[in-house]
Amino acid sequence: MTDFSLSGLTHAKGDAVRRRSRFIAGWALGLALPVGLALLWEAAVRLGLSDGRLMAPPSRIFATLGALWTTGDLALHLWATVWRVAVGFAIGVASGTALGAIAGSSALTRRVVDPTLQGLRAVPSIAWVPLFILWLGIFETSKVALISVGVFFPVYLGVLGAIASVDRKTVEVGRIFRLGRVALARRILLPAILPAYVLALRAGLGLGWMFVVAAEFMGASEGLGYLLVDGQQLGKPDQIVATILIFALLGKLSDALLVAASAPWLRWQDVVREED
């Protein structure tokens, strides 16, 4: 029996429960495939169907991870890579946002800035590597620079596109209430571009992880990319697979953090998704 005087409350509670169970179901469904495959592979190696030399079974990968962890190597490499991505991401986001906002703020600045940046974007980013090494040396600076370039373009394009697609009708609401430039930016433009901006940040972060590997391939003595190169040169496929696994986890984790951090500002969008 439903008590209608409380229906609002019970409805909200039911919503929360439903959302949580859907969340758990989502995780279970998403994990089914990789975990299932891992278990199958483990079984195949144990049953002698494969020697698991080129593709280690999960147990050996976890053993490798454990060994790397106890020597302290894992923490060292992990930290080096995370630090590079964090700094490169911060620089790429700051510059991409600033230039995107400048180019988006008026047709004139867009016509001045955009063609040059579009031209630079057409350069495959890895092509910058030799130049960055000559300019900035082979140590941290050139690596961070390369990551920043990777992060910059999706953020720049995202901001520019988001500003361009702000609905003129929404802006008119601000005009009717006589908002000044700053208030218009704060109360109308920012919230209007936020969803697209978060998508751009996520795309930028994804490229950040991609470019950190490229950067670390070009000569590094620490970092997850170094672990990959090291694993290849010394014939340690276990180490390569373990590192790939870490990349997958880091990428997913950082993306989830970004989504969680932006969620409070984008709650109004969830309404639609809940109805799906």
């Binding site: 609401v173 005009r175 009717i176 006589r178 919230p191 209007a192 109004w268």
Partner: protein, 247 residues
């Protein structure tokens, strides 16, 4: 406030939307505008609101020219235009940024109550029906108590009962605060029920075809011999204005 539209023309990329249109509304009067689709009603309201500038002619409030949106002028757009990232209460309180938190809350609650949306205060605009969104937009304009209120088909998405309720609510507010009201509508009954004067517009180019005073004392009946007579007059004028274009 007295509103005057003097010989105003408006062209969009060469296409004449309004041509040499003049109009005066005395302070505290209610003017209804009817006319066929595309005859320039919304354009006229947007010009008065200061959102567009006239190609020729001038618009003035108590003699001072309107060149940009003004505090004294409120506009309810033809679409609700609620901001999707604010709750209904947030949208309704959008123009009250300068008020104290407590005052804003009280005014918003009162406005929502009046348009029958108190239960939706914390809903997101996406969760509203078309008519609910329209009422929220109306509340957003009313809550700042403009001296001139421009309404672009504010009740078009409502059922007959809710529409009649809101019409009476609008009249109550008007009796209390006496704003100058300009209301665009497609509903001839609504125009006659609410307005002191009905302006019938014709299209191509947008202009005034006829002005009809509704000399029926308030409170008005929705149906009576005098009201019906006025309704027939307006309907006939509207038919001619639209027919003239087709001919």
């Amino acid at each position: 406030m007295a509103l005057s539209v003097r010989d105003v023309s408006k062209a969009f990329d060469g296409a004449q939307a309004l041509s040499h249109l003049s109009l005066d509304v005395e302070p505290g009067r209610i003017l209804a505008i009817v006319g066929g689709s595309g005859c320039g009603k919304s354009t006229l309201l947007r010009l008065i609101a200061g959102l567009e500038s006239a190609s020729a002619g001038a618009i003035a409030l108590d003699g001072s020219p309107v060149t940009a949106p003004r505090e004294e002028i409120g506009l309810v757009f033809q679409e609700p235009r609620l901001l999707p990232w604010l709750t209904v209460a947030g949208n309704v309180g959008f123009g009250l940024e300068d008020s104290s938190e407590a005052e804003r809350k009280a005014l918003v609650a009162q406005a929502l109550e009046r348009v029958g949306l108190a239960a939706k205060a914390n809903a997101w605009p996406r969760q509203l029906s078309g008519g609910q969104a329209q009422r929220a937009a109306l509340a957003r304009a009313l809550v700042v108590r403009p001296k001139v209120l421009l309404l672009d088909e504010p009740f078009s998405a409502l059922d007959a009962i809710t529409r009649a309720d809101l019409q009476d609510h609008l009249l109550e507010l008007w009796a209390e605060l006496r704003p100058t009201l300009v209301l665009v509508t497609h509903d001839v009954d609504e125009a006659v029920y609410l307005a002191d004067e009905v302006v019938v517009m014709a299209a191509h180019p947008g202009r005034i075809a006829e002005r009809i005073s509704i000399d029926v004392p308030r409170p008005r009946e929705r149906r009576s011999e005098t009201v019906d007579r006025e309704t027939r007059r307006v309907a006939r004028a509207l038919g001619e204005a639209i027919g003239r274009r087709a001919a």
